[in-house]
Amino acid sequence: MPLLKSKEWSVTKICHLAKVHRQLIQDLKRVFLQNIKDLHSSIGPNFTLRQGFCGMETSPSTGKPKEILLHFIHNTSVPTTKVALTKSALYDNAVSQFSVIAGLLKEKISPDYYLNVFTTEPPQVQSQHVDSVSS
């Protein structure tokens, strides 16, 4: 998003999108995942672990149309800890799906790529907050 006005980007338009941005950011909730390797790791030809997470959808049991579950997922300063961000309305759904994350990953990922994903400990949701800002 530009910060400088132009013919295409008026002051009003920039300000409106800035407000949308802030609203979106303020609504996000986080879920920490432990014992997972780098999100850039490959889990298929030209397909990364992050792409896999970002393609997750809400579970059909909610009775609502499916939607993308995560806003984004980031590596943290702890190499095997990830932080997933989700809209507050989808938080319970995310926690529910992540509570069985180990099985979910094993089901979705080919065993050929397990070494790229799993550490010696099983993946799990972490309840404690960790410092995630790297720079």
Partner: protein, 104 residues
Amino acid sequence: MIQFQCSSTWSELKSPSSSFFRWLKLNKVYLFYTKFKNSTLVPCGFLHGAHPGYLHLDEAEDEIRKYLNITNELEFQLSLRTISVPIMEGNPEKFAFPAVVVKT
């Protein structure tokens, strides 16, 4: 204004417990970090939807370069800060928000 390079990390330099930082503060010397040689940095945009509390700046810079096919000739860096934009043309009132800012 002066520019210097050093092998210490930014967090080491800015650590409140370091004698160097205490000296800087005492003498009202302020630092800002640039990844490339430049006397000024201009914020030209921000990453819409990117959470400033969780984005890894170094990773994000690499990914932006990779996916937008940006060569090293175009120098930019990301930083976390609160920015403000005018609410309306000609109106001094501004809207402030935290963001991941693209500076060049």
